[in-house]
Amino acid sequence: MNSTNPSQAVLPPGSRLRLFTFAAPARFYALMGALLPWLWGLTIVLAAAGLYAGFFVAPTDATQGESYRIIFIHVPAAWMGMLLYLVMAFWAGIGWAFNARMASMLARAIAPTGALFTFLALWTGAFWGRPTWGTYWVWDARLTTTLILLFLYLGYLALVNAIDDVKRGDQAGALLALVGSVNVPIIYFSVKWWNTLHQGATISFKQAPTMATTMLVAMLIMTFAFWAYAFATVFMRTRAMVLEREAHTAWVDELAKGRMPS
């Protein structure tokens, strides 16, 4: 058993970097610990820059006035909410298929952040809808799908937390997340045919964006800020989970002894 204190060395001296090096909880814990200050720093810098660009530099919209500026939070949050569900399902599936503990922990850690972004997208959308559509909420395709996505997150969180056995919780959550990710496009299209009021996607990869460059840049900066935030919070949560699940191991014991002077 290697007794290197993982809180000091991300990679023990003399060991080679391999594909699965960071699949070991101890190394992953150390790596994430080293990355966290950078990620938080990046989050703050990018969010400050993005919000400044969005609120002070970007021009006023010709038709929507100042109220459109909420898109600098709304659109990146909606993207993150959808993306994180797929990322969560991916890691949960990897964890289930290959019995990879770190992947399962990562999936569990992603869920609350994904739910938060989805909620944020709905919340900011309601505030944008009030002055623009004249109502906080309409039952249109994207709003309804986002609401159902939030319910899928809540269902996943409720299920994994209701199961006391860690392994069963991981696997049941993985199955539910995979079924959910198959369902999200079906739900989206069914709700779309049902009713549509939401404006079409403004940013598309097929054609040149129809928005001012400064708006686009501000939105992209905010997207990267949310990415950094998502990484930071997910890693923090994963670290806590690693400590909880590996509490019986020697390295956590050493870590605890090193941190807390007896």
Binding site: I148, A158, L159, A172, V179, N183, I186, S190
Partner: protein, 222 residues
């Protein structure tokens, strides 16, 4: 594979015949819940006719979800579920038989009772036919998805509520097309598109549901 399917199906039906009151509960729930709506909304015929398809679908959903909770619970409690999973036959056949039994015992009675509901809510004959056809295609989807939820939440303390929370979001497409078909017919349009989509959903759930349920049963009984 088929012999296990038939054996489990016949066994579940026989068990249900021995507990007739329990078996009738979902149907009674469906009718009671439905008759509460006019009391809450008001007796205006126009309003009731307009909201009838949606309410019938939501009540059918809830009746399915509340009854599917017990689908594997009894077998798990007396250990027979574990024996069936240990059997050399595929667990997928077991899951499919369970879904089928659940549909025959809850979905089918609801469909049979729906014409009565149509009279209560003053639905026209074409709309009623569309509602029955939609339920015939849609209730198997509810049983298949409900069985997956029941397998995932097997033996958990808050099983019933949890099952509803995780399964209901997945059933929204069935609800939309099922209730939408009736609205189409009432508006004088063809509902064939809605029925095709419901049929596609049914095929997808019938192919994907039982394997997922079998996997969930293995996870839950490990």
């Amino acid at each position: 594979m088929t012999d296990l399917f038939v054996a489990v199906l016949m066994r579940d039906l026989r068990l249900a015949m021995r507990r007739r009151i329990d078996t009738l509960l979902p149907l009674v729930f469906f009718l009671v819940a439905l008759s509460l709506f006019p009391l809450g909304v008001g007796p205006e015929a126009q309003t009731l006719r307009q909201i009838a398809p949606g309410i019938v679908w939501v009540c059918a959903l809830l009746a399915s979800m509340l009854s599917v909770n017990q689908l594997f619970a009894g077998d798990q409690a007396d250990g027979s579920l574990e024996q069936m999973l240990l059997a050399p036959q595929s667990a997928v056949a077991l899951a499919a038989a369970k879904c089928c039994a659940h549909w025959l015992l809850t979905g089918l009675p609801l469909i049979v009772a729906t014409p009565l509901v149509g009279i209560l809510f003053g639905l026209s004959t074409p709309a009623l036919l569309a509602l029955v056809a939609g339920l015939a295609l849609g209730t198997p989807i509810l049983s298949l998805l409900g069985a997956l939820g029941a397998a995932l939440t097997l033996g958990l303390r808050s099983g019933g509520m949890l099952l509803i929370l995780i399964v209901l979001p997945l059933t929204t497409p069935a609800l939309i097309f099922g209730a939408g078909a009736v609205s189409q017919v009432e508006a004088g349009l063809s509902a064939s598109g809605h029925f095709s989509l419901l049929g596609a959903l049914l095929i997808l759930t019938a192919v994907g549901g039982p394997p997922a349920t079998a996997a969930a049963l293995r996870i839950s009984t490990e």
